[in-house]
């Protein structure tokens, strides 16, 4: 019984939140890695583009709700996702046309593109705020819980409760589907293969008749889809606030770099590594240890929760020091 209680407490406070957060980071990191692998620069505007895509999704959600369409227990925002992705894709294609293409044609150094993306970040930042405001917005509807604490306690007779929010479950399921679809696309389709060829060697790809501009466009569209989905899932699970999307940039980059920039599998692994470290290192293990028979007066907490973001930094530094290409041998930074 005590073992079960310990397990449930672990699931409730560590595993479920970390898994949902990890899935959100993984999707974000996939986008970063894709842009880095194919367009060869670190896109600092990633977080704010996520916010922009999410803002459009939220407005589409409101429109759907206004005409009375809903998905029952599932959040309406999922139905609005295609509209958000389309809006976000138009936006990034426009940005590429106006900003990045100029530098790409000039064959500028990656660092110049990175700086340009910082500029884009600030503009995107402002645009999102003009579009939807700076306040916190909750747009989750439908059923809040798949498993809620009270009914779980009654059902199991355990003293610990277990909660699984609908949004957490949806986050993980959608992330798995998206990752599967992305890998299928990259490995099985002609366009996917063209993208990988372009990523490996630009000149060689050009010689084999691959249109570079088409590859770039495709990359941006896929990245926009990943960004909007990641942003919407994050907003559904927590709450939408433009500033938080700027802050989430650091863990996303940490995830992408830990896994190895340019490596899609690395991005996913990195997302979960960062998320689980953040949660596990700041979690006080007193309760779990208590159920396992180790009573302790202290909280058994490695680090106070205020230092959550510091964990991403530390992981980033350790990886850069000892394995600069990341765990899955991406391109060196």
């Amino acid at each position: 019984m005590d073992l079960l209680n310990a397990l449930v407490a672990f699931l409730n406070f560590v595993f479920i939140p970390a898994a949902a957060y990890g899935a959100q980071l993984a999707l974000g990191a996939l986008g970063v890695t894709l842009i880095y692998g194919i367009l060869r620069f670190s896109n600092f505007a990633h977080g704010d583009t996520m916010a922009f895509g999410t803002a459009i999704t939220i407005m589409a959600t409101w429109a759907l709700q206004a005409i009375g369409i809903s998905l029952g227990p599932i959040p309406t925002a999922l139905l609005a996702l295609p509209i958000g992705i389309a809006g976000c894709a138009l936006m990034v294609l426009g940005t590429d046309r106006i900003v990045y293409r100029f530098y790409r044609k000039k064959k500028s150094d990656p660092i110049i593109l990175v700086m340009a993306s910082v500029g884009v970040m600030f503009i995107m930042n402002g645009l999102t705020r003009i579009l939807i405001g700076v306040d916190e917005i909750r747009f989750d509807d439908g059923a809040r819980f798949v498993i809620d604490v009270r009914s779980f306690r009654e059902w199991s007779g355990l003293s610990e409760g277990l909660a699984l929010r609908t949004t957490q479950l949806i986050t993980v399921i959608v992330a798995v589907l998206v990752v599967w679809a992305l890998f299928w696309f990259l490995n099985r389709t002609k366009s996917g293969k063209a993208m990988r060829a372009y990523s490996d060697n630009e000149d060689l790809a050009l010689l084999s008749g691959i249109d570079p501009e088409q590859v770039v466009r495709l990359t941006w569209i896929i990245a926009a889809a990943l960004m909007t989905i990641a942003g919407t899932l994050y907003g559904l699970d927590k709450a939408f606030k433009p500033f938080n999307y700027f802050q989430i940039l650091l863990p996303i980059f940490a995830a992408a770099i830990v896994g190895g920039l340019g490596s899609p599998i690395g991005a996913i692994a990195g997302g979960f590594i960062v998320a689980f470290s953040e949660v596990a290192i700041t979690y006080p293990w007193k309760k779990v240890a208590g159920h396992l028979g180790f009573q302790s007066d202290g909280l058994l907490q490695l680090m106070s929760t205020e230092y959550k973001f510091a964990v991403s930094f530390v992981i980033l530094i350790i990886v850069l020091l000892f394995r600069p290409t990341g765990l899955f041998r991406g391109k060196s930074v």
Binding site: N12, F13, Y21, V149, G161, A163, K238, N244, Y283, T305
Partner: protein, 393 residues
């Protein structure tokens, strides 16, 4: 030229004969910054009292009161000090302000004490202001958070809560109140399992909630803001089943709280500074006539702050803060004839006649040493998703 000189001399003579003067009163409040939405109603409260005194014609042989506003910004101490210096340069003798604790301390130390200007703050609640060296120039009509902590601890204990976890917003207000609550609760024999800060404006509080849940306790004291992290923590604690009973101090009490959580927080305790009594009703009438919102936080306290400044000047028969500061406690507390809002003229008359008064005012003013409101707090419980007033302490 001759005529002009004559006229000037005549005017000076007239003014001198009447003994009347123009007393300048500063409204030094946070008109911009994080509490900018509160400042206009606070200033209106103070100005209403000043106008009442001035219009009565009974203030220090027919002297008049002129008010002027200046901006403290609430967060930028340097800006607040500069604005206060300008007020003093313009001849202000006393100020209603500042609005926030940190900025008030800076103004008191850099402007108030060196220039001998009296300050009565309607809203600075940090316990640090109780122990500050103020040369007797600083008072406040708001209660110290130290007092609120004691009331919270007593109420929790009365409800049979033996152990609590505390989460506080990471600033002067949160830390001060959390510390005073912890000290008071432990003194009563309760156990505090953890006291951890949370930052406002984050998307996700699951790590904070997990830490609080692990520490455990009968109830969770949420010393935060209802529009900020306080609600995030409460939401997380409810969702994960970590706590179902909460203690909410003033920053959390508001309609937003019950709108958000409804019946989920049934049985929780709320505490916020509020007074009952005749003064309150009179103040509401008066505010309606003057055109500002009487239920706005701290506007009643500002009315009382301005009234106390002017009444103590009347009692001292001088606008000099050095004389007036000695009279503040006397005017504010019993014994004496009670004076309610709208009755300032009566108070002025009584003081002129040498009778002692007990200024009750809009917020039932009762000053305790070192010159701050004893504080009257309202206890509420959440029943069926509504705030229900249980009593006053």
């Amino acid at each position: 030229m001759k005529k002009l000189l004559l006229a000037t001399a005549a005017t000076a003579l007239l003014a001198g004969a009447a003994g009347a003067e123009e007393v300048k009163l500063g409204m030094h409040l946070g008109f911009t910054g994080p509490l900018e939405s509160m400042a206009p109603d606070i200033a209106a409260g103070g100005e209403a009292a000043a106008k009442e005194v001035s219009d009565s014609g009974k203030f220090m042989d027919g002297s008049t009161v002129v008010t002027s506003r200046s901006d403290t910004t609430c967060t930028d101490a340097a800006a607040s000090v500069a604005a206060a210096e300008r007020q003093v340069a313009d001849g202000v003798k006393a100020m209603v302000g500042g609005q926030c604790s940190g900025e008030t301390i800076a103004v008191l130390e850099k402007v108030g004490i060196p220039n001998g200007v009296m300050m009565i703050s309607p809203s600075a609640t940090s316990p640090a202001l109780s122990t500050i060296e103020d040369n007797g120039l600083f008072f406040r009509t708001a209660p110290s958070d130290a007092r609120q902590g004691e009331v919270m601890a007593q109420l929790a204990k009365d409800q049979g809560i033996e152990s609590v976890a505390i989460t506080y917003t990471n600033n002067d207000y949160g830390k001060g109140l959390a510390d005073s609550f912890q000290a008071a609760f432990e003194k009563l024999g309760g156990q505090v399992t953890t006291s951890a800060a949370h930052d406002d404006g984050k998307a996700d509080y699951s790590a904070e909630v997990a830490a609080l849940a692990s520490a455990g306790g009968d109830a969770l004291a949420v010393v935060g803001y209802v529009d900020q992290g306080g609600s995030g923590i409460t939401r997380g604690a409810l969702d994960t089943g970590a706590f179902d009973k909460f203690i909410f101090p003033d920053g959390m009490i508001g309609d937003a709280l019950v709108e958000r959580f409804g019946t989920e927080i049934d049985g929780s305790i709320g505490i916020n500074p509020a007074a009952e009594g005749d003064g309150r009703a009179k103040f509401e009438e008066l505010a309606a006539a003057a055109g500002f919102d009487p239920s706005a936080p701290y506007s009643a306290e500002a009315y009382d702050a301005a009234a106390l400044i002017l009444l103590s000047m009347q009692a001292a028969k001088s606008a000099d803060p050095a004389a007036a500061k000695e009279k503040v406690m006397e005017v504010a507390n019993a014994p004496g004839e009670p004076v309610l809002p709208g009755e300032l003229a009566k108070g002025l008359e009584l003081l002129a006649a040498g009778t002692d008064i007990d200024y009750v005012g809009a917020s039932s003013v009762e000053l305790v040493e070192p010159g701050e409101s004893a504080g009257s707090f309202r206890e509420t419980t959440i029943t069926d998703g509504k705030l229900e007033v249980v009593g006053f302490h």
